[in-house]
């Protein structure tokens, strides 16, 4: 059934910390590795060793440059303490993106076959690949680019929130989380239940001001993103801005070495 459940018992999803992510792509690789041999058909690549390789990925990292405008930050050099940015100086933000398991998921309702569905018990959005005709309409309806058609199998692939890991009792408990979360060396990805206000993910969102991507699209995404933290302004008073060290007071052997190596560049005052 492609009608959405009125509510789900759990709201499983991810919190992605844009401050902590270093853009190493480990989550991208581990996602591909786990899911190419897990749920559904393999994630195929076309022309993988050729000039124009393409393939199906369920998680990709984009890298953005954010340049604060004058009205959004302190002017250069006048900042003291923590600021979100300095006018004109770009911050680089690595941006992992996978399915957000939306509460109002348009990819589910547009599906003509019932292959796409949202689970009533935990809110995970899945594709039953045996029913998928590969029309691609769900990918058109997704604002986040979370669904990619597998070019070898002609069925739609998407993040399963590693449904074959998180409930897998054959695994050690520490491994019962999505592959991307388990592998992230920076701890930038967190997995949990948003329906529980005391869960790790709910607390993170509350404390760090977690936000939705494109709320204006009306999809009510479950996954949340944490903004980059404020940073210490490097302004004029910082160590990096201090004048070049002076050797004017060097005497003895060191002074002789300094004079011999500096030649005429050594300031007159020390002679």
């Amino acid at each position: 059934m492609t009608t959405l459940p009125a509510s789900t018992q759990k709201k499983l999803g991810l919190v992605i910390d844009l401050d902590t992510c270093v853009g190493c792509h480990a989550c991208v690789i581990n996602c591909k590795e786990w899911n190419t041999s897990g749920y559904g058909t393999a994630l195929s690549d076309q022309d993988p060793y050729g000039a124009n390789p393409v393939g199906s990925w369920l998680n990709r990292i984009h890298t953005f440059e954010v340049t604060p405008m004058a009205h959004q930050s302190k002017p250069k050099g006048q900042g003291v303490g923590e600021v979100i940015g300095t006018a004109g100086e770009a911050r680089v933000v690595h941006f992992p993106k996978s399915c957000l398991h939306c509460e109002d998921a348009p990819c589910v309702t547009v599906c003509p076959t019932g292959a796409s569905y949202k689970r009533e018990e935990d809110g995970i959005v899945l594709v039953d690949e045996d029913k998928c005709i590969g029309c691609g309409l769900c990918a058109w309806s997704c604002a986040y680019g979370a669904r990619e058609m597998d070019q070898a199998e002609g069925v739609m692939k998407k993040c399963t929130l590693c449904v074959d890991r998180i409930y897998n009792e054959e695994m050690e408990e520490i491994d019962r989380q999505p592959a991307c979360v388990r592998t992230c060396p920076a701890g930038a990805r967190h997995f949990g239940d948003f329906a529980d206000p005391e869960s790790n993910v709910s607390v993170l969102v509350k404390e760090r001001g977690g936000f939705d991507l494109m709320p204006e699209q009306g999809n009510k995404p479950v996954n949340k993103y944490l903004p980059p933290r404020a940073r210490t302004d490097l302004g004029v008073n910082s160590a990096f801005a201090a004048p070049v060290e002076t050797t004017d007071d060097a005497g003895g052997v060191l002074g002789w070495i300094d004079r011999a190596l500096s030649g005429s560049t050594r300031s007159k005052g020390a002679n």
Partner: protein, 316 residues
């Protein structure tokens, strides 16, 4: 959006087929006349051909029957269901004309209404997508319905071209001209909205949530090469030739059909019928370009993750 040839062919041909069936189902054309019998056959062939062509872009067409199951929520499913149901009155009406030289007006009204509902469902597949502001407007179903009736009327006219010069033929020429002007007027409002819509309310700032820090620009794409998303949704080759295609659209779809129909009124019988056939062919070619541009101008929100307006998408 990437303009898939199979989908363009499907929407133009089945649209025109439903338009022709709409005209015939309203009781126009003597059911015993050969032109009416051929007309019914052509209408059904265009509808069926369009539907078959639409299955060509599926990854697994052998499971297409499953698409009939989710009519409660999916416009694509509704379209499939309506297309099959509409075959019932249309096939009956066609059989009555072809084998019995007869017609039933009640059945005709039912068929005509179902034709328009099916075209409406096709349009709503596109109009219901929030991700594409160019399509997500009431002008989209209005365009599909108007072009369906207009192209159907033109084809009807072309079939009865041998009666050209008669009063009854002239009435259809006037009707075709009125439909044509109204349809393109609706299309003008669609295009005006589409060209101004951009990415709608979404921006690279809202897509990343980083707008409170500053202006967002894509520094690096996730992978060096293109992918399904950039090929399918951030397609730019089409957009590159927008202006030229726009002129071809207006020349083939508007100017030439009007000139040819007016000429046919002047010259009267014989040659007039030929001119009306030419006008119909020109309109259909123009509608092909119109449908191509419908995809080409559409901007999908996912483009914002690939650089938005300055997206660098390799032209595969």
């Amino acid at each position: 959006m990437h303009p898939a040839l199979s989908v363009i062919a499907f929407t133009t041909f089945s649209g025109a087929g439903y338009g022709l069936a709409f005209v015939l189902a309203l009781g126009h054309g003597n059911p015993g006349a050969l032109s009416t019998k051929i007309g019914w056959f052509v209408a059904l062939a265009m509808i069926a051909g369009g539907l078959l062509s639409s299955t060509l872009h599926l990854g697994n067409p052998q499971r297409a029957w499953r698409a009939l199951s989710q009519w409660r929520s999916s416009w694509l499913s509704r379209e499939g269901v309506m297309a099959i149901l509409t075959f019932i009155p249309l096939t009956l009406l066609a059989a009555m004309s072809i084998f019995a030289d007869s017609f039933n007006l009640a059945l005709g009204y039912i068929g005509a209404i179902m034709c328009m509902i099916t075209v409406y469902c096709t349009a709503m597949i596109y109009a219901s997508l929030r991700t594409i502001p160019q399509w997500h407007t009431n002008w989209t179903p209005a365009c599909y319905l108007a072009f369906s009736v207009t192209s159907g009327t033109f084809i009807y006219l072309a079939f009865f071209g041998r009666e050209a010069g008669s009063d009854s033929n002239n009435v259809w020429v006037y009707l075709a001209l009125v439909f044509l002007v109204v349809a393109w007027l609706i299309k003008y409002f669609w295009a005006k909205n589409a060209l101004a819509a951009g990415y709608g309310a979404s921006t690279m700032e809202s897509a990343t949530g980083l707008g409170n820090i500053g202006k967002v620009r894509l520094l690096e794409r996730p992978h060096a090469m293109g992918n399904y998303l950039t090929n399918e949704m951030a397609f730019r080759v089409a957009r590159k030739h927008l202006n030229k295609m726009g002129w071809i659209e207006v020349a083939l779809g508007v100017a030439l059909p009007i000139v040819l129909l007016l000429l046919s009124l002047l010259v009267g019988s014989g040659l007039a019928g030929f001119l009306q056939v030419l006008a119909t062919i020109s309109l259909m070619a123009g509608l092909f370009v119109e449908r191509w541009l419908f995809f080409a101008v559409a901007k999908h929100a996912v483009g914002l993750y690939y650089g938005g307006e300055e997206a660098l998408v390799p032209a595969e």
